[in-house]
């Protein structure tokens, strides 16, 4: 039998040949972004229209395929048109009607439609060939060099997401062409488990799920355990609201995750892997199933993978909507078919995990980085980032920011560079108020912290945390007390109820916050929140409780004046908390049309037709209907 690497390279050559013949040598190749978010934006209809047009014109040399998400969420659906010797053009916010125009002009007549293309596309760059997409050794620079969208990709470094938006996630051949499974075969044939663990340790890769525990150390611990049975689990239970990094990774490049797991399994001695994924991600589940089936068929999973003597297989397990199951011991219980409640550690899962066997749990993004470490070397990986945080981090940048999207930056990039550089600043010219990182476990950082570098230690020191990668930009229109209440509402609801500090404590904190936002806050509430928060942090069983007070503590620390305005002046500075608002009619603007009076449900607005109206504050229920009804901006909310 020829050696496994030879066999893999042979498979790749075959894949490349057939891809070249079937897809890439076409005169025009069209890709449609089709992750969940793009489908939500209408990518399905766009894809169908392109398909129809190709058939209608009977074009044999035009090919069409789906790709994952390139991260330009606010411009979806994105359609990219590739043709040899001209710039790939990304068309944004496409609709079936726009497709008609682009198809007619660009595909048939060869003239790109600049008005519909992504802004700043460099149409003069004519030396593009498909090879550039595939040949680039590390692939990390190709987004800006190939797609030209330097405004968005320029400050980024696509490592985890290197293939997202480039390859067809449902076609394993395309993954093979971008050095797919080469790291796995290299590990299986040239390295001992110890070598792999050492490489990971040397690379400095740390857990991307939020904890930041060094991956190499974790693997080493599991490797040292003497057990016939061990397990490796991929945590894809991305529960943070406002986070979609893992979903996009799986939807855009599922084979990378599988390859990372194969390597991890070999390193620690696990022959069985599990992917624990949210049931709320049907498309990610489907793509992963397709990828696993393809890998199995090719002999990359199952008995004697890649023709070696190593057995490894992966099974998908569905979550069922419990945030706490992102915690590793709770996740294990859930895979076992139980209520997903955490247990005290130690013993750590690496010693006693799934069914009492040594188990390693890593996040999707961590696994996606593993092949890069192996292929490009731990030294190269360690050269990116800061002293203690190596590599890159993917963020789901959302909220009141111009460029919403999935971004990946080297560790150490400042928050300012992410929000203003990649994100393009605040929407509608509003004023920046805070950036929230780390989801319900993280905190809100104000403008004075914008120069904080993005790494595990700096974010924690600033009072927030890295978390799994949600990054929500908040502007002056949001009330920070209300934001804190929102997160507490979430964690309180998701608390599994096993330990008292979390179960009862978060409930009491939420009650206080509800009181404050309802205008019934009393002097001493802030101190009470801080004291409760401190107790919950120190005494809760798992990470959920230990981090639950963070949004409250960080908003008190940085926005104490807003809390005080609510409590002392019964005023919501941002104009959000409805109980604390007053609606008044501006006499100079009121023409006495009566529109507000007719809408008022109480009714508390008085005034004769054509005379200035007035709101009876004592009876007003602050529903805001008068404000919506008035066509003359005569109702003021304060």
């Amino acid at each position: 039998m020829s050696n496994p690497m030879e066999k893999l390279l042979e498979l790749r050559r075959k894949a490349e040949k057939s891809l070249r013949e079937e897809k890439f040598n076409a005169k025009v190749r069209i890709t449609v972004g089709s992750a969940t978010c793009e489908n939500a934006a209408g990518a399905g209809e766009v894809f169908k229209r392109v398909e129809e047009l190709i058939q209608r014109h009977n074009l044999k040399d035009v090919t069409l395929s789906r790709v994952g998400c390139t991260g330009r969420c606010d411009m979806e659906p994105v359609v990219t048109v590739f043709s040899q010797k001209s710039t790939p053009v990304k068309y944004i916010t496409m609709t079936p009607d726009k497709v008609d125009k682009v198809f007619d002009s660009h595909v048939i007549k060869g003239t790109p439609v600049k008005s519909m293309a992504m802004p700043h596309t460099d149409m003069t760059n004519t030396d593009f060939t498909e090879d550039k997409l595939w040949a680039d050794a590390r692939l990390t620079d190709r987004f800006s060099s190939v797609f030209g969208d330097v405004h968005f990709f320029g400050k980024q470094m696509r490592m985890t997401l290197r293939n997202c938006g480039v390859i067809d996630p449902e076609d394993m051949d395309e993954y093979l062409v971008v050095r797919g499974y080469q790291a796995a075969v290299k590990v299986l044939t040239e390295m001992t488990p110890n070598d792999v663990v050492n490489a990971l340790t040397k690379s400095g890769l740390r857990g991307r799920g939020g904890g930041g525990f060094p991956t190499g150390v974790k693997w080493n611990f599991a490797l040292a355990q003497k057990s016939e049975e061990k397990y490796i689990i991929c945590n894809a239970d991305e529960g943070d609201p406002g986070a979609f990094m893992d979903r996009s990774t799986i939807e855009g490049d599922p084979h990378t995750v599988i390859e990372g797991m194969i390597i991890g399994g070999y390193a620690i001695g696990a022959r069985q892997g599990y992917v624990y994924i949210r049931a709320e991600y049907p498309l990610a589940i489907k793509r992963l199933e397709i990828a696993i089936a393809a890998a199995r068929k090719a002999g990359f999973l199952g008995k004697g993978i890649f023709g070696t003597s190593w057995d490894f297989d992966i099974e998908i397990r569905l979550g069922a909507g419990a945030f706490v199951c992102g915690e590793e011991t709770a996740l294990i219980r859930s895979i076992e078919g139980e209520r997903g409640m955490p247990r005290p550690r130690p013993p750590y899962p690496a010693a006693s995990g799934l069914w009492g066997k040594p188990t390693v749990i890593n996040n999707v993004e961590t696994f996606a980085n593993v092949p890069v470490v192996i292929l490009d070397g731990p030294e190269w990986f360690a050269s990116i980032g800061t002293e203690k945080s190596k590599g890159t981090k993917v963020f789901a940048l959302a909220g009141k920011v111009c460029n919403t999207g999935l971004v990946e930056v080297p560790m150490g990039t400042t928050l300012r560079d992410v929000v203003y550089g990649v994100g393009g600043g605040i929407k509608d010219g509003k004023k920046f108020k805070a950036v929230q990182t780390g989801g319900p476990a993280g905190g809100c950082l104000p403008e004075s912290f914008l120069d904080t570098p993005v790494d595990y230690e700096s974010l924690t020191a600033a009072g927030s945390m890295m978390g799994s990668g949600g990054m929500i930009v908040i502007d002056e229109d949001s009330c920070m007390v209300d934001v804190a209440r929102f997160f507490l509402d979430f964690t309180q609801d998701e608390s599994c109820g096993k330990c008292t500090p979390c179960r009862e404590g978060t409930k009491r904190m939420l009650e206080i916050l509800q009181r404050i936002t309802a205008g019934r806050g009393v002097e001493g509430d802030i101190e009470k929140l801080l004291r409760l928060g401190d107790t919950i942090k120190r005494t809760s069983l798992c990470g959920l409780g230990q981090a639950a007070p963070n949004p409250v503590i960080s908003t008190i620390k940085h926005f104490r004046d807003e809390y005080e305005a609510h409590i002392r002046e019964k005023r919501c500075p941002a104009g959000v908390c409805s109980n604390l608002l007053t609606y008044t009619i501006i006499p100079e603007k009121c023409i006495g049309c009566g529109a507000c009076k007719r809408k008022c449900p109480v009714p508390c607005i008085s005034g004769k037709p054509k005379e200035i109206h007035e709101i009876d504050q004592a009876r007003c229920i602050k529903c805001g209907q008068c404000l919506e009804a008035c066509k003359f901006d005569a109702v003021k909310r304060k």
């Binding site: 986070a243 076992e336 934001v483 919506e628």
Partner: protein, 176 residues
């Protein structure tokens, strides 16, 4: 040894669940750690019926030989499972952070107001039910409202009624 009584129970349970689920349970029984598949079995039952009734869970309990208390305990732990029939059209509002920051709370208030029900409830005519999604991960489209499979992006409170009428909502009738 299976008693005649148990066999009777098993046959009764088989009448409750669809064939595909029964086959799946039997398939799981032949694998290692069969009980660990309880959650995926419950997923399949809910896929079929739209919710988990007591009789469905009891049938799962008999067929998987897991105590009924545990089946109920597991099912009730996870938000994904619901125990009452849902409306013909399921209106789901995303309450992720991005949607929240962009005003999803006001959209939800309007939705509750129009339909006269709270989150997790179904209207009397069984036409609509409201759910709150933690985050659907389409943050660029915030606030997001999903009716059945269709996604509505950038929803404003005053658009809610119009969207609902597409699904047979009559403003006067629904509000008591």
């Amino acid at each position: 040894m299976k008693s005649a009584l148990l066999l009777k129970e098993v046959n009764k349970a088989k009448e409750v669940l669809p064939e595909s689920v029964i086959r799946y349970i039997e398939d799981c029984a032949s694998r290692k750690n069969p009980n660990s598949h309880l959650i995926s079995v419950l997923h399949k039952v809910q896929d079929h019926f739209g919710y988990l009734a007591k009789e469905h869970m009891d049938a799962v309990s008999i067929l998987m030989q897991i105590p009924s208390a545990k089946v109920t305990g597991v099912a009730s732990f996870y938000h994904f499972f619901n125990f009452a029939p849902r409306g013909k059209h399921r209106v789901s509002l995303c309450m992720g952070t991005a949607c929240f920051v962009k005003g999803a709370g006001k959209v939800l208030d309007k939705l509750k107001d129009h339909l006269g029900i709270d989150v997790g409830q179904t209207t009397e005519d069984r036409l609509f039910s409201i759910d709150v999604a933690r985050c659907v991960g389409a943050c660029a489209l915030a606030p997001v409202m999903i009716v059945d499979e269709k996604v509505y992006a950038g929803v404003k409170p005053d658009q809610v009624a119009k969207i609902l009428t597409e699904y047979g909502f009559e403003p006067r009738k629904a509000k008591k």
